[in-house]
């Protein structure tokens, strides 16, 4: 039985011999038990247990031209936003016979393209990518991929296959609208990294202010640098140097907003009276902070969860209920934009 090159672990052949059936019956028992008679099924399972057999995923993938890998490509790991998404994905997977492999493209569509090609080579069960900003070739690869493809974090009418997300632009506009309604008039925008999604938030910001006749391009302070809390402090300082009369800021994300708040505290600028602050994503920190910080709640866990769920559904042969899912967002108004706060 030892052929010399083998791994030493039991194979389908071993199980088949032990159970007195053919290898293919073992294979069937493991993958499509209902196509095997109960008696044989039991025999095979007993042999599997006796030998401690576990199938080799590589051999399986080679033979069936389909692996159990669900490829996930996200822009960054450092970003806590994506770790929530991933957590949702893992939870949705539960005990489904797939595994998630992910890669990060460092916010580069070119790296994303490489990663897509790499995944496709593995014949993935499904692919999940962030947003709509793939390269031409990247989109083409995804379109040709013989597997479900889910785009997440944004919505759009023309998904490659399926999409679950929300309108970044509408969310940006909603916060801005809230700041206007709260009585702020000289509203700035603080933005870091400026990836496509951030740009769409800015777009919403601009639209809302323009409509209200309050837009002032000079109050937009942005940087391509990755966002950090300290950067939030710096961006606010920058803005106040250029436009000292600014009375509120919409921050492209919560890190920046929190940094802005710290800066105000240190500079003894009363928040929310003299400076309103709103963030984006609604990290848990924003609610716990004192003062608590206004933000836009995004359903990150949910997006991850649904993305996997939709892919699994399609893999199971069920047609998806819908190909375009908008999970929405929720404005969380808190202390930092509540001008009529007592205290």
């Amino acid at each position: 039985m030892k052929t010399g090159r083998g791994s030493g672990r039991p194979t389908v052949a071993d199980v088949a011999a032990q159970a007195g059936v053919s290898p293919i019956t073992v294979s069937r028992t493991l993958r499509t038990p209902d196509k095997v008679s109960p008696e044989l099924r039991e025999q095979v399972m007993a042999a599997v247990a006796a030998l401690g057999y576990a199938p080799d995923p590589n051999a399986r993938a080679l033979a069936s031209a389909r692996s159990d890998v669900i490829g996930v490509i996200i822009p960054s790991l450092t970003n806590s936003v994506f770790s929530d998404v991933l957590t949702g994905m893992y939870d949705a997977l539960a005990d489904a016979p797939y595994q998630i492999h992910f890669a990060n493209n460092h916010f580069s569509p070119f790296e994303e393209e490489r990663l897509i090609a790499g995944f496709i080579r593995q014949k993935p069960a499904a692919l999940i990518v962030a947003g709509f900003d793939q390269t031409e070739r990247g989109r083409a690869l995804l379109r040709q991929a013989a597997c479900p493809v889910v785009q997440i974090m944004e919505t759009g009418d023309d998904p490659i296959d399926m999409v679950v997300g929300f309108s970044q632009r509408a969310a940006g506009a909603a916060v801005t609208q809230h700041l206007i309604e709260a009585g702020y008039r000289r509203i700035g925008f603080l933005g870091a990294r400026m990836d496509p999604r951030t740009l769409r938030r800015l777009d919403g910001f601009r639209a809302a202010l323009t409509e209200a006749g309050l837009y002032d391009a000079g109050r937009c302070v942005t940087t391509p640098a990755p966002s950090t809390f300290s950067l939030g402090r710096m961006l606010l300082r920058d803005l106040l140097t250029r436009r000292p009369d600014t009375d509120a800021v919409f921050c492209n994300n919560d890190d920046i907003a929190m940094g802005a708040l710290f800066e105000c505290q240190q500079a003894a600028i009363p928040v929310p009276q003299h400076m309103g602050i709103a963030g984006f994503n609604d990290l848990e920190l924003m609610e716990a902070s004192y003062p608590s910080v206004t933000s836009v709640r995004t359903f990150r866990y949910r997006m991850g969860y649904l993305a996997i769920e939709m892919a699994l559904k399609e893999l199971a042969g069920m047609p998806p209920t819908q190909r375009i899912v908008d999970v929405g967002f929720e404005l969380k108004v808190r202390d930092t934009t509540n001008r009529y706060l007592t205290g």
Copy 2:
């Protein structure tokens, strides 16, 4: 050329035909180019380029009984601590022909054991696990794994194979020592999740206080719940209910510390005068915060980076310089424990 079952993509055989060599030469050109003469090498590379050939990782893994997967098992994704570690790993990997697959065990050694078994089935190139608290069988599996194994986040004399980390206990003791030196006397401990590493920090805390004759078990407030900022607030409230005279807290991590700070701000407890606060991990937030928060800087990125580097070195056949690497830690003293602060 179409055999019916094939994937349609070019294979080694196609490349070999195009280049006028045998399949094995193509294989060699791609994996060990120095074993092929320059002329043939060039021919093969030309054929590869012409056909757009890319090897099938599954077939490769099956034939060579060794995949290009480096398995990483960490307790949690939600935790920003681990995302730093992962970032370091990805960076260390750079263009090495391996890919990282990770899984999280939700802080459960049993789930960890399952994951280890799952990875080993894939014949990984290397395995990286967090800490030393595997199950008996988990350790056995790792020991028998025919690949480099790196334990991270902690140090220990008896690694399964290699280890890169730092002494959680010593770090816990060092912060506590600092609090004592800063003049605090009634020092509490706030801890969430209480995983093995946290327990060792607590151990260091206890040792330092005991030695100073200041230990009071009643000042340790812990919970198995996952740590959040709000939880930090609650834990501090709890502690102050039990021991209102507490004058400093060492928090098991930065989230808790930050929450404690917010609670103090809301309750108008002067920090650091009436309450010293120290965290653990030194997230970027701690430095940016106002007041800035004392913490223990841990080299998370570095640990991830080194873990991969050590594994790659071994995979390349080079003997590792050392099997046990202590990256240390660094106490960052800031406003929240600086009693003599002006302001």
